[in-house]
């Protein structure tokens, strides 16, 4: 039966050749490490978000009078509603963690360097889109926490003279966070961001495939030494076939992701639901402690401690541009960070600063 189907497909679309070329003959470098799986884990994580997100849509009502109730209904009444909501919430946080880890390891291995500058930029944009997903999804349950965190975050653009108020108004659909904001964020979360994400992801994968996997995490290889005058795909004729060898590693890491997710859902179900996340939004009472999700804590705390709001926003925009176009700022040929004490020091300092700001913002 299977052979007949396969044959049928082969006659029409040449599936055997395709599998041979793309899967069996596709080779990955020998010195590849476990961190190379993080891209695939991210895609798997996103897939879970899509599926659980669609399931949540069946019961969720994006209206200020019903949003909170409908989410409570999903959690308490709908059979297994809690599971899909938990998977969505836990997944969103884990996913951003994995995207961070993916970028961090690519950075440490110097794989953003020529010829992969574009891959890095698109990847950084994907991180940005992931955070935008998280941020827009945060408001949807219409809790005290989500309402006030969104109030604060959407007020940030007002620091910019002239355009700021307009930007904030467009974001919120009015002077303050209201039902109009909920509609906007909902539309953004479920129908504007997904196509943008898919386009960027397609481009990211295309670039990865077209340029070839970087097999040189450490040290300078022939790839870096050759003069850059023409396109040259990086192949690894002496590498391992992707399938089954590396595919298994990918699968293993996806299972690690799932295991962590279900472990947390079972043993730490309230990890991302502090007290104010279980109270319905009250536009006339600001709760005592409001804070964004952990991945926005560091920028949030930074804005808090810089006395001039405008300056704070400018610094953050500058940092984002630096991050986005990092491959063009770092023109040094040496990829191995162990041989670059200055970069290493800078990295450690930035990382430490991030962690400090994050914990500071939490308290």
């Amino acid at each position: 039966m299977w052979d007949r189907v396969r044959n049928w497909l082969d006659v029409r679309i040449g599936i055997n050749d395709l599998v041979e070329e793309e899967v069996r003959a596709y080779r990955v470098p020998k010195n590849i490490n476990i961190f190379y799986t993080l891209g695939v884990v991210t895609i798997a994580g996103y897939l879970i978000q899509v599926i659980t997100g669609i399931l949540l849509l069946i019961y969720y009502v994006p209206h200020p009078d019903h949003a909170f109730q409908s989410v409570q209904g999903i959690m308490n009444k709908v059979p297994f509603g809690w599971l899909f909501r938990q998977m969505h919430v836990m997944g969103s946080n884990l996913l951003i963690g994995v995207v961070f880890a993916h970028m961090l390891t690519v950075f440490l291995m110097g794989n953003y360097k020529r010829p992969r500058e574009l891959t890095w930029i698109v990847g950084a944009l994907l991180l940005f889109v992931s955070v935008a997903f998280g941020f827009s999804g945060y408001l949807l349950p219409w809790t005290q926490l989500s309402y006030w965190a969104t109030t604060v975050a959407t007020a940030i653009p007002t620091a910019v003279p002239y355009m700021g108020d307009l930007v904030a108004n467009v974001l919120r659909g009015g002077e303050s966070v209201t039902g109009a904001t909920l509609s906007r964020f909902f539309a953004f979360h479920i129908s504007i961001l997904p196509p943008i994400f898919l386009m960027l992801l397609g481009l990211h994968l295309f670039l990865t495939k077209r340029i070839g996997i970087s097999g040189t995490p450490f040290g300078l290889s022939a790839e870096e030494k050759r003069p850059w005058t023409e396109y040259h795909k990086k192949n690894h004729p002496d590498g391992y076939p992707y399938y089954p060898r590396f595919f298994q590693k990918d699968l293993f890491m996806v299972m690690v992701y799932l295991a962590v997710m279900f472990f947390l859902i079972t043993f730490a179900p309230n990890l991302f639901f502090p007290g104010d996340a279980t109270m319905p939004a009250d536009p006339y009472r600001t709760p005592a402690s409001i804070r964004p999700e952990w991945y926005l804590l560091a920028p949030y705390q930074m804005l808090k401690i810089i006395p001039n709001k405008f300056l704070g926003v400018i610094i953050q925009v500058a940092l984002f541009v630096l991050f986005l176009f990092w491959p063009f700022f770092d023109t040094e040929k040496e990829k191995n960070i162990m041989k670059r004490p200055f970069l290493r020091g800078m990295f450690l300092a930035a990382f430490a600063l991030w962690v400090i700001l994050m914990f500071w913002g939490r308290s």
Binding site: A155, I156, V170, E175, P283, Y284, T286, P287
Partner: protein, 136 residues
Amino acid sequence: MKRRSFLQLLLSALGITTLASLLYPLVRYLVPPGTAEKARTLVIAKRDIPLGYAKEIVFNDVPAVVVNRPGKGLIALSRVCTHLGCLVHYDKENRQLLCPCHAGTFDLDGHVISGPPPKPLPVLPLRVDGENIVIG
């Protein structure tokens, strides 16, 4: 002008016209429409706010507070913190307005005492009419 460049020119003109005719409505569509004319005044009874106390109100959709300041009389202030939009509340002990978000403090005239808020709280028009307080 050659036939070909004329056609090219025409094509770009058409393209720009179409693009502009779509972009303009799009931008207008995304900018929220102005809200309708609001209720002009709000009346509360004077005896509701004894000396040293405050009452939270909502005036034209803006959360506000009316404070009966000892020695200085009544004042109506917006509760929307000028930093990032959290709502300040009246601290009776210290005769201050406190913002819970980043610990901004304001005095009872609305001026910033400490913390990150860049501007004083907006003062709403208020007058006393017999036994009533009229805001707006």
